[in-house]
Symmetry: C3
């Protein structure tokens, strides 16, 4: 199983900004291409008061700051140039994280998605929507909000695919502000299955693809969770991708590139569980030769060696 | 509003040391010059037992360690070479942070400043004093100590200017040891105004310049605080600079370079509020092309592009 | 006193992985050689489920993951190529850290050491054993476990030397998960002496060398602790090395390279206390010109300048 997609994290939530301009981004798309990436997903088009494109609605209604560069336009052009599919990530006001209130993001995103579709819908690389509200546990309100946003996006865009990337509420499901690396209480496999049975039932038809984040459970537990996720997604007609995190959750520095052997372990577990495609969060900080983190370059090299091995062994059989 | 000054943070408090020698420092002054910097401020000449110059008094009376290189001498020579103004930062024993005791630093600094003035007062680049005791809230003892230190420095040096760089006790006013990014309680604008009215009254005449740190309040609140600060400083006859922090306080890694758009936002707020000059904390870790932090190089490039734009637009008008 | 040994930390406990392959490791051994290093110590051959070599026993009995590269073999070959002594670090299951249970690691390591000796004992560079269980305070169970492991390794290998690297329970003896930098309670010099008198008595004959970690007490306290350690080690017939930590424990980013002046201070204290050899934790992240941490390169350069000075001053006398 090889990585063929990556998030684009250009809106500073818990990963520091690299301050790249158009030239560095073009170079990064070249590195992605060489690594076999065909899909890029904007993690969110705006976060609290920061934006990736000059969204009139958000600047006027939410006091968001105008960005100095239209990154959505840039990413769509680069996607076209390098023959990749672009998914547009929805706006995140922070309200869901702060107060559990999903309605604020829901109403804002109706306007945001319409404005985005008017501006960028004609780009041939615009291939789908990423519903950026992250969930993990059964919450009626969040489930309904995701379904409604999914339906809205599909209606706008002649049924372009929608996808989500939830997390598993495992031992490593901690906030970036927590000092600890692992918590004592975590969800059981059985409870996870029960809750996601309900969630998938609530979002089916409105969401096409699910890519669970793979970094919140212990490495030796991952396969079991991926298998349950795959079975449930199949039951409700969703396609299963895996979101293979390329950073390390076990270290005191939050966050630096992962050890390659651990990434390989997670990719092999996803392959065995039957996932269809692997994407990563995210290439530009954790796997790019030009990342601000020096070890990302070596992860890139180790990954390319692995890719070469896998490709050659497939050719032989 | 462009950045024309920077602190020099060579005494390891909460920013890791880069281990530069004279060659790397010379190179960094060249990068600063190219970015338009005309003023450098040594953040402190000593911190607890570490020194930037071999201060006889502190080595003998406080058991401070002799430094392997006289950085004050080096910085003064480089300031002269690159035509910059140097401000000398006072000694910080740590007592104020540990126990709120200002008298210890006050008495030590009388000797330290005299020794420093004897050693370095003849350098033409020696242009002022930075009173390194950082305050935020009204404290009679600290206010008096700052006034006394300011007067002492001015008397020593034929009235060279003195300056302070306080912080605003906003949501992000946290210790480097706090896991959280924002606190629940923070000062109101009104309370801030009341307290600084008193503080400025207590330090007027002894302090010439005030440069508030600009990173402790939310981005959209900054302009209001800067405006109050400017009005109060005007009232008591202090000049207003802004200390535009070039690192990001919203990230779990404490601290890495800021996103350029956020720096631009802060500079524009300071310009609108009428600040006279912008300095930064600090160039060498967060904006230098040779910084240990890879993204500093890109912040430098983005900043130079902005500077070029601003300069050209001024030329046109 | 110069650094002539280093740990090799290739098993991701609290220092992020650099993802080096054989080529980068060969280069790093060249950098080490140029810095005067003649001894390398594998910090541990496995940690929880991660391994540095494909240990049949641990893969079958503990469900450990097979590594993609046999690092023990690689490090032994490089040690031979660059004429260095290699110490093999024992397996750490994590049980000691999690529950204070020493018996689990003890029983596993009997098998692990036998397997390792069979696989690698014939390499001429295999020169000793590093007993990786770290202790600080008197614990009967841990003392007995170390003695038993030491004896087992010596019997296996025709009495090759064994060594330990304990920590001092000083103000900076904190977990990587602690937000704080210093704790309020710490051991007194007298209490430390009492406890280590007992521990050394319990491990004498089974352990040949002790290298205390030098980063957990204040810089000005270090000499006193080193002196006590040396006297006690002499009393019980152990050789004294110092483990000069090349990272900074006083910073919010855990961990980045130390300021050279502080490293020099610690080396001079160890020399004065009579330590026989200095090793460091560890070269590849904190002192290597190719480290992921940009300031490591400058620490390397500062260290080489110091080494040159020291060597020349010895030649003159």
């Amino acid at each position: 199983m090889l990585i063929t997609g990556t998030f684009l994290d250009e809106i500073s939530h818990d990963i520091p900004h690299q301050n790249w301009g158009p030239q560095e981004w073009d170079q990064d798309f070249q590195y992605m291409k060489a690594a076999g990436i065909d899909t890029v997903i904007l993690i969110r088009c705006g976060y609290r008061k920061q934006l990736t494109f000059p969204c009139r609605y958000l600047m006027q209604q939410h006091g968001c700051f105008p960005p100095s560069l239209d990154l959505v336009d840039l990413f769509l052009c680069l996607s076209e140039k390098y023959d990749m599919n672009f998914f547009f990530g929805l706006y995140d006001s922070g309200a869901w994280w702060d107060s559990g209130n999903a309605s604020e993001d829901l109403s804002a995103n109706k306007f945001v998605c319409e404005e985005a579709w008017q501006r960028y819908g004609h780009y041939p690389a615009f291939k789908g929507w990423y519903l950026s509200m992250e969930i993990s546990r059964r919450t009626r309100e969040a489930t309904d909000a995701i379904a409604e946003m999914g339906n809205h996006c599909k209606q706008l865009s002649n049924n372009l695919p929608t996808f989500i990337s939830p997390w598993i509420d495992g031992k490593k499901a901690l906030s970036m502000q927590d000092g600890i690396i692992k918590k004592h209480e975590s969800i059981s496999l059985k409870q996870h299955e029960e809750e996601w049975n309900e969630i998938f039932d609530g979002i089916k038809n409105a969401v096409d693809i699910v890519a669970f984040q793979d970094g919140h459970v212990e490495y030796h537990e991952l396969y079991d969770y991926l298998t349950v996720n795959k079975q449930l997604a199949d039951k409700y007609g969703l396609r299963s991708w895996t979101n293979c995190e390329s950073f390390d959750r076990d270290m005191p520095i939050k966050f630096l590139p992962i050890k390659f052997d651990l990434m390989k372990l997670k990719l092999e577990a996803a392959e065995k569980a039957g996932c269809e495609k692997a994407i990563t969060f995210e290439f530009s900080h954790f796997m790019s030769p030009q990342s601000m983190y020096g070890s990302a370059r070596h992860l890139y090299n180790r990954y390319l060696e692995y890719k070469k091995q896998k490709t050659e062994s497939v050719l032989k059989t």
